[in-house]
Amino acid sequence: MTGQLDWLRGGIALAFAFLIAVWMVKPIGVSTQFVIADGAVWDLVSPNLVVEDPETKSGYNSENAYLAKSGGKYAKNVANPVNYSFVFVIAMVFGAWLSRITRGPQPSKADRVAPRVWRNRFGDRPVPRYALAFLGGFLVLYGARLAGGCTSGHMMSGMMQTSVSGYLFAMTTFATGIAAALTLYRRGDGHR
């Protein structure tokens, strides 16, 4: 079990991670926690952002309409960031680190700045890569929040449950994802 798993073992491992989560607690999702992190920081700067409100279902309310939606469930998590979903996402960083130090795949020093496919196409300078990574992150999370979930929640957990929304999400994500990757990196360039 050193290095990167082949597709079959990797697929089986991924399947069990998603299954054990839904068996024990609930389906895996990630992108909501970016909102909770933003909200927690925002609430530090302006403490009136989230307030207790016995009128709502969650007992919390917010002047931000997004945090206040669905009975204030996001507002509640912003007020109490040490909750299941937020701790789950933090633990993911630890899990990846654990895999790396236990003989998982090892990125080289250059890989930690930009993947090889990027370096072959755009060179070794870090700043353009970081700038695009920031922009890409913006698009990915704006899109995920508009869609109501990301690759984990909508596509993996969604299609696992045969959710119609999961199939719709996967279709457009792969359509534009393939178009973007082919446009930016082309097909033949820099293949190892």
Partner: protein, 199 residues
């Protein structure tokens, strides 16, 4: 107890994402430019296998259908998915793999995560305007699934067939596609179908 589960399950998920190579943007980009489909095969196989076991587990009563969480369908799912795809294909990270890549010591993932926090913040601010467009109005039955889940909160679009049977059928189909897909469909420069060389 909930926090202990969160630490255990989050660690497991991060570990697996890393081991399968999903936290390496090289693999995501090569999957999307169709030169290395190993991750695609793993993802399809994982969905097919987990779906089959989930529905069988619910049918025999080992897994509680109350744990399900089905998301609603609305036009924003497709538009948001399209935006996410653009970012994913350009930089090679999605929200989960970007976080796992932090544990891999990748610096571009730090930029990605900050960009993600900014994007999520922009959505928090623009939410009332987005809602006013009707993009968030339910379509296709709202919180709907194909297979019967046994959870009354969700509408099944194919109610006549036992849920486990349909899910197993779809699951086997997905695993079959995963098996059949080539790992590396043509390496290096290859002629286009018209016989034109790739520049």
């Amino acid at each position: 107890m909930e926090i202990v589960s969160a630490i255990f399950l989050g660690t497991l998920f991060g570990f697996v994402l890393h081991r399968v190579g999903a936290s390496n943007p090289e693999n995501i980009i090569n999957m999307l430019r169709l030169t290395d489909l190993h991750l695609m095969k793993a993802i399809l196989f994982a969905i097919g296998l987990s779906s089959s076991i989930l529905f069988l587990g619910m049918a025999v009563g080992v897994i509680d259908s109350g744990h399900l969480s089905v998301k609603a369908s609305f036009n924003g799912v497709m538009l948001g998915g399209a935006l996410l795809g653009l970012g994913l294909g350009s930089v090679g990270y999605c929200p989960g793999t970007g976080l796992a890549a932090l544990g891999d010591g990748r610096r571009d993932a730090v930029a990605f995560v900050f960009g993600g926090l900014a994007g999520a913040f922009a959505y928090m601010l623009s939410y009332p305007a987005v809602k006013a467009t009707g993009l968030l109005d339910s379509i296709a039955g709202g919180k709907s699934t194909l297979a019967v889940t046994g959870n009354e909160s969700y509408v099944a679009l194919v109610p006549g067939v036992p849920g486990w049977m349909l899910a197993l059928g779809i699951g086997i189909l997905l695993m079959g596609i995963a098996w059949a897909l080539p790992g590396r469909p043509g390496s290096g420069p290859r002629p286009l179908p018209h016989g034109l060389p790739v520049s």
